[in-house]
């Protein structure tokens, strides 16, 4: 049967068909839908983990215990899991273990454009790279087979255009896999130096065997063409090559690492010009050059952003990437979003805001312009401490979400308390992992399948970490919120303010649209500074409220100084 599946749905389907028993992840675009879809299969023990390191380790444990298991993350999520990844390469597994990583060329929803294929070299692990959803399903099954045969975690490297493309995919049924017997093997699983030295020998021998496998892998495929141009390509780029040069010869690398050197050399000998087409870093290009093969490869300007069919000809002709102007509409907070209330206040207070990863990063854009850093998960706490050490007189407020705090903020808060740091951290607790579309986390008291579970008590947790003050406030009362933040900033203390108001994806209630009296409006534009999607400027600086968009949050009535916008109690 053929069904329409996205790359992420296809990974979930392939894993289910392969008999996966355990799957763990932390949400992150473009990888989130993998676990959301895995959770639809009752045979699989699926979880949102607290962060990627935890997710990796839980899945690894299940694999060591003999069950097929899967870990999924976005590219920067893998950074968090690198510690266990590097050493699990040494220990190996027992049941198959597949590590799915979704890169985000073009940074549609990410803070950098790192290329995960290098982790194959760095971690000494095989990497498979599907070109679309159909291959994603096949490759995940192949990855489990390789994992068990070669006793290694296997990376499945996806990109946004593979994860979020749908195509018709042939599906089949689940094949149950018997758990492998659990063996207490200290020399394999206790990586003290003595044992690890022995395991490193095993790893190098495994890499040699995997290189031999690469030569035989059917997914490293030659498509014979006219023999003039010969493309070496992988992943989504393969599709662009096929569109641009349907008659050319192609070596498609389904196994990105280790390389099939003999097959590559043989292919290069059959064509007049070898052209490498790959997104992001010169991973294939550098390897072919090291093999001594003369290649045409993309200009360095193409290392930035995605490729597309139209770019392939430019690469062949040695041109630079011509940047297309971005005119897309900017994203903004949803109507009624509680984050808007917080940043209207923080902007008014003119404080320096150390931000974090989440919807609230949108507050950095004008006109709100009130968030000043966004680097990685947890910096909403740790940068407050570091900036405080450098700038004693600057008022710094840290901001991060509930899910982000649990992911990476807790250790930073303990560190601040332990090292006698002072400052204010605001946890914007909207009771959901919002940016990725609304996933549960330990503060919501619900699992990935919406089953009730233990609910993390943020107040008690922050107290235990060593915060001097832990306040809980509904910051939709902006006057009270401003007063509280001002007071806490003035104190010589480490303070956490839990600003609790639910995300509009959860709280769908709508209150009456405010009344607008144009006669009272002084056209000052202050209400437009809150960047509400329901408010637009019309002629002469007056405004209009879109009643279909407005949810009646009344923030505009709070900021209007002339009574032109009034709460409508009707």
């Amino acid at each position: 049967m053929r069904v329409l599946l996205s790359g992420n749905e296809a990974v979930a389907r392939g894993a289910w068909e392969a008999g996966v028993a355990v799957a763990c992840a932390y949400p992150g675009t473009p990888s989130t839908e993998i676990l959301e879809n895995v959770a639809l299969y009752p045979e699989i023990d699926a979880q949102w983990s607290v962060n990627e390191k935890v997710a990796y380790e839980v899945a690894l444990g299940a694999a060591m215990g003999g069950r097929r298991s899967l870990f999924a993350c976005k590219h920067v999520g893998l950074n968090v899991a690198m510690d266990p990844l590097m050493t699990s390469s040494y220990t190996g597994i027992s049941g198959g273990f597949v590590v799915v990583v979704c890169d985000d060329p073009q940074m549609h929803s990410s803070q950098n454009e790192q290329d995960t294929r290098w982790v194959g070299i760095f971690g000494k692990l095989p990497v498979l790279e599907p070109a679309g959803p159909g291959e994603a399903r096949e490759f995940v099954k192949e990855a489990f087979a390789i994992s068990e045969e070669y006793d290694t975690p296997v990376l499945l490297r996806m990109t946004t255009r593979v994860s979020h493309t749908k195509e018709d995919v042939e599906i089949s049924e689940r094949v149950e896999v018997e758990p492998r017997p659990f063996v207490r093997d200290v020399a394999k699983y206790v990586m003290i130096p003595k044992n690890a030295r022995g395991r490193h020998v095993v790893v190098e021998a495994r890499m040699a065997r995997l290189q031999a496998l690469a030569e035989r892998m059917p997914c490293n495929r030659v498509e014979e063409g006219c023999g003039k141009l010969g493309f070496v390509t992988a992943g989504v780029s393969y599709n662009y090559v096929k569109e641009a040069y349907p008659e050319a010869s192609v070596l498609k690398l389904g196994m990105a690492y280790p390389f099939c050197d003999e097959k590559i050399a043989e292919f290069a000998g059959t064509v007049e010009q070898v052209v490498v087409v790959e997104e992001l870093d010169p991973f294939i290009e550098d390897h072919l050059k090291a093999l001594g093969i003369a290649v045409t490869a993309k200009d360095a300007s193409f290392r930035i952003g995605e490729l597309g069919t139209a770019f392939v000809r430019d690469i062949v002709e040695g041109k630079k990437k011509h940047a297309t102007p971005v005119t897309a509409r900017k994203p903004l907070f949803c109507a009624g979003c509680p984050h808007r209330f917080a940043f209207v206040v923080l902007k008014k207070m003119r404080v320096y805001v150390a931000g974090d990863i989440g919807c609230y990063a949108l507050a950095s854009l004008p006109p709100l312009s009130s968030l000043h850093t966004c680097i990685c998960m947890g910096t909403g706490v740790t940068l407050v401490e570091g900036l405080g050490l450098a700038m004693r007189d600057e008022r710094v407020v840290g901001v991060l979400g509930d899910s982000t705090f649990v992911h990476s903020g807790i250790t930073g808060l303990i560190n601040a308390a332990y090292n006698k740091a002072k400052g204010v951290v605001v946890i914007l607790d909207n009771s959901i992992t919002a940016m990725t579309g609304g996933q549960q986390n330990p503060t919501t008291g619900l699992t990935i399948r919406n089953e009730p579970t233990k609910k993390l008590d943020l107040e008690k947790l922050c107290q235990s970490c060593g915060a001097d003050n832990v306040d809980v406030i509904d910051h939709s009362d902006i006057a009270a919120f401003e007063k509280l933040v001002t007071e806490r900033l003035a104190e010589d203390a480490l303070s956490v303010i839990i600003a609790r108001s639910p995300c509009k994806m959860i709280d769908r209630r709508r209150r009456p649209v405010p009344a607008y009296e144009q006669e009272l409006c002084k056209q000052c534009g202050l209400c437009l500074q809150i960047d509400c999607p329901a408010l637009t400027a019309i002629d002469d600086g007056f405004i209009a409220i879109d009643g279909n968009v407005c949810v009646g949050c009344n923030l505009c009535t709070d900021v209007c100084r002339f009574g032109a916008l009034k709460k409508n109690e009707a």
Binding site: S109, K242, A328, P331
Partner: protein, 161 residues
């Protein structure tokens, strides 16, 4: 190798149901027996920003994206986005932006815009009515299926002078 692939670009702003519209179209193409690819981006873009979704179907489809100047159809959900999206359209391609006004008159709620525009598009694609009906059943929950079928039929029969 001669390939015939139909290229459609859907675009507008977050929250307008663009991804749902392209889902109906891609599902109908699948029901008709075509090879289909549909591509879009999730995440930050959906917070009220520009959203676009590409659907390609035919005998053999490679790229998930429609290149500039290659779209057979442009289904634009918001007039502010038209200037940005128009370069996708090939010379002689069909621009469904003119359907925004009749759509606004015909529908009772903005959430029906996507279904209406897909209806209008459906009359111009070589996909049978049965496949569209199957796609509508696959994409919509039972409780909102009937109202959407009605809107779809209104869109399918709309005429522009």
């Amino acid at each position: 190798m001669k390939r015939s692939v139909c290229n459609i670009v859907f675009g507008g702003i977050g929250g307008q149901g663009i991804l749902k519209a392209s889902e109906i179209c891609a599902t109908a193409a699948l029901c008709e027996g075509h090879h289909v690819k549909k591509s879009e981006v999730h995440g930050m873009a959906q917070r009220g920003g520009s959203v676009e979704s590409h659907v390609r179907f035919g005998d053999a489809v490679y790229s998930p994206l429609v290149g500039a100047g290659l779209a057979d159809f442009l289904v634009c959900f918001h007039k502010d986005e038209h200037q940005r999206l128009r370069p996708f359209l090939k010379p002689g391609g069909t621009d469904l932006t003119d359907y925004l006004e009749p759509a606004a008159r015909a529908i009772t709620h903005p959430r029906h815009l996507n279904t209406f525009l897909v209806g209008a598009l459906s009359a111009r694609l070589g996909i049978g009515e049965e496949s569209w009906t199957k796609a509508m059943h696959a994409v919509f929950d039972a409780k909102i299926l009937e109202e959407n079928l009605k809107v779809f039929r209104a869109g399918r029969s709309v005429e522009i002078q």
